[in-house]
């Protein structure tokens, strides 16, 4: 196995007839947090969707290698069960399905796909409560319908709970910080830092430096017009915060 968890080689992606990603390269080793910053329309969300196998976008050339496996043609659920998780920018509502039921269903699907035994109801409840406590989510919230009537911040917190419960190998945070107030941002970022270990990595997509200050990424990449135009250390985020993306155009 090579040192890299994720390897993206010369990735070209179309949305309809329009090319959005135009030869993107990116490597993420194990045990690292990488950030992608970029202006609106640069292709950040398309990148996270393509990595997750969203069939709305067409890969015209290039490869995505995850855990030494080419996942470019795989279905979203197959990619997910290999250990890739995307925290959505806009989490959907599923009426009638409680957060708890949803967590149980996805956790079971994930365990089965990986040949693991499914946890019994009481073990699972204990497991979820442990994770929920980290995020300050109580039982009442677990009983509510998934994201129905939740505020933007609460939805992001639910996303983070799913993340902690599934404990994936690669996590993509697609603007998870947008819509979060300062307190919620603290809780969510602490939760993420807490699950970080030698066997997983994170790709953080954001507009703002705030979240990056909490997560202290090892690398920051600047995405402009479908390409990584510059990569560097955390100081790159500082530069963006002060000067914007103008200088990269």
């Amino acid at each position: 196995m090579s040192g890299n968890l994720l390897e993206i080689n010369d990735l070209h992606v179309n949305a309809g007839d329009k090319e959005i990603l135009k030869g993107l390269n990116l490597s993420i080793p194990f045990n690292e947090i990488h950030a992608i910053m970029g202006p609106n329309g640069s292709g950040k969300s398309v990148l996270s969707n393509v990595l997750s196998g969203n069939e709305d976008y067409k890969v015209t050339s290039g490869q995505i290698i995850f855990k030494n496996k080419n996942i470019t043609e795989l279905k979203p659920n197959e990619i997910s069960n290999l250990g890739l998780f995307m925290a959505f920018q806009y989490p959907v509502e599923i009426p009638g399905v409680t957060l708890m039921n949803f967590l149980k269903t996805i956790h079971e699907a994930n365990r089965r796909a990986n040949g693991l035994e499914v946890l019994g109801p009481s073990d699972f409840l204990k497991y979820v409560r442990e994770k929920a406590e980290i995020l300050g989510i109580n039982d009442e919230v677990l009983k509510r319908q998934l994201n129905v009537g939740f505020s933007g911040g609460e939805k992001k917190r639910n996303e983070t709970l799913q993340l902690l419960v599934l404990d994936p190998i690669l996590t993509i945070l697609d603007e998870t910080d947008s819509g979060l107030d300062v307190d919620a941002l603290d809780i969510v970022s602490e939760g993420i830092v807490g699950m970080k270990n030698e066997e997983n990595s994170f790709l953080v997509i954001t507009h703002y430096k705030k979240l990056l200050d909490k997560l202290s990424p090892s690398k920051v990449h600047i995405l402009v017009d479908g390409k990584i135009v510059e990569s560097g250390g955390p100081d790159l985020a500082e530069k963006i915060e002060n000067k914007g993306f103008e200088s990269f155009n």
């Binding site: 997750s52 196998g53 969203n54 979203p76 659920n77 998780f85 599923i94 996805i106 994930n110």
Partner: protein, 482 residues
Amino acid sequence: MNKKINKPSEKDFNNPYEFGFETDIETVFAPKGLNEDVVKFISDKKEEPKWLLDWRLDSYSRWLKMKEPDWSSLRYPKIDYQDAYYFSAPKEIEKPKSLDEVDPKLIETYNKLGIPLKEQEWLAGVAVDAVFDSVSLGTTFKEKLKEDGVIFCSFSEAVKEHPEIIKKYLGTVVPNSDNFFATLNSAVFSDGSFVYIPPGVTCPMELSTYFRINAAGTGQFERTLLIADEDSYVSYLEGCTAPMRDEHQLHAAVVELVALKGAEIKYSTVQNWYPGDEDGKGGVYNFVTKRGDCRGDNSKISWTQVETGSAITWKYPSCILKGDNSSGEFHSIAISNNYQQVDSGTKMLHLGKNTKSRIISKGVSSGSSSNTYRGQVNIHPKSENSRNFTQCDSLLLTGNCSATTIPYVESKNKTSTIEHEATSSKISEDQLFYCLQRGLDEEEAIALIVNGFCKEVLQKLPMEFAVEAQKLLEISLEGSVG
């Protein structure tokens, strides 16, 4: 008139419709076709009293003058009523006295269906009146029920043992002039269930009946009569599956419920008859008349149904709210896939003062199916301060299916109110992708979303039924990813 039914082939067991098999049992048929002699044959076979034969013959003569209704949205080839058998019974068990006398092969059939009678007796505490074709096999827990004075037996047995009750109530909710299919049933009904709950008694267990259509070309004409006397309570479960058949099978059941003063009846159905194959071939035609009469003040009747089967469903479980302060409820989930056609709903007839009705209907359509909710709410001039609330939600899974909501609403009393809400939605690409990203495959994702959509109704089912129903929803929607 004996006919040997072929053993099921290996192929039958591999069919997606997992209950598609027949049982190798000799069957006694009434002569094919329908005429006065056949009606007499049935009545004679069941050793019925003359008044009942007369009622059947009266029904038959009324039926001859009636026309098959054509107001529904259902489209099906004309039914040849002379090309069917109107009575069949498993030959070896014409008069079983206990389960021990029942052909072991029948028990085996139920085991394949996942309805082990023995286990149910001991584990679930449910008294089962199993109807195989047209004759009741055996009734369990009779002794326990007897202690409380509850009568739960086959309809034919009730005719013999409790003729006075049958005579008093039969046809008083669904008269034998009611409609084409109910009138046909009144002429040729074969058997069914009878329940009587004495005054003040809360029935100690959930009562349950399993129906099963088996013999080739046999129409099924079940008849259920349930009477809850003053201040009593009963919960009744009805569940059905049918084996695989190529030709259409006609089913025209009648269910009559009577709730006297202060009584409450909860009637739950899970219907999973053979819906036909992916091309719309085969499947059961289900024309059912179900009606409850809240005859006394403060009485309550609630219908809960999960309909996933049948090629054609024509069914409107209704409530007549006669007593003051009486209330009626209808909670329904209707799933249609492939070429299934559903035209179903309810009628709430408000006659008494301060009557309440509540209708929650969830329709899920997939494949090329059509799913119509047809409901009628009628508040009469003397029905003061009455209320109705109706909510109809449709969920479409594919582009080829259709969902229609047809509410008929009429209030003739100014102090009464009627509310109606209807929604129609599709599973969004966003919802699907979200679930897939979490590791569910498309079928699991759809099952989850559909279960969520139906939750309000599923919660109304008794526990043991809710789990079964949830599983059924998933089976019914298999292959519906579009």
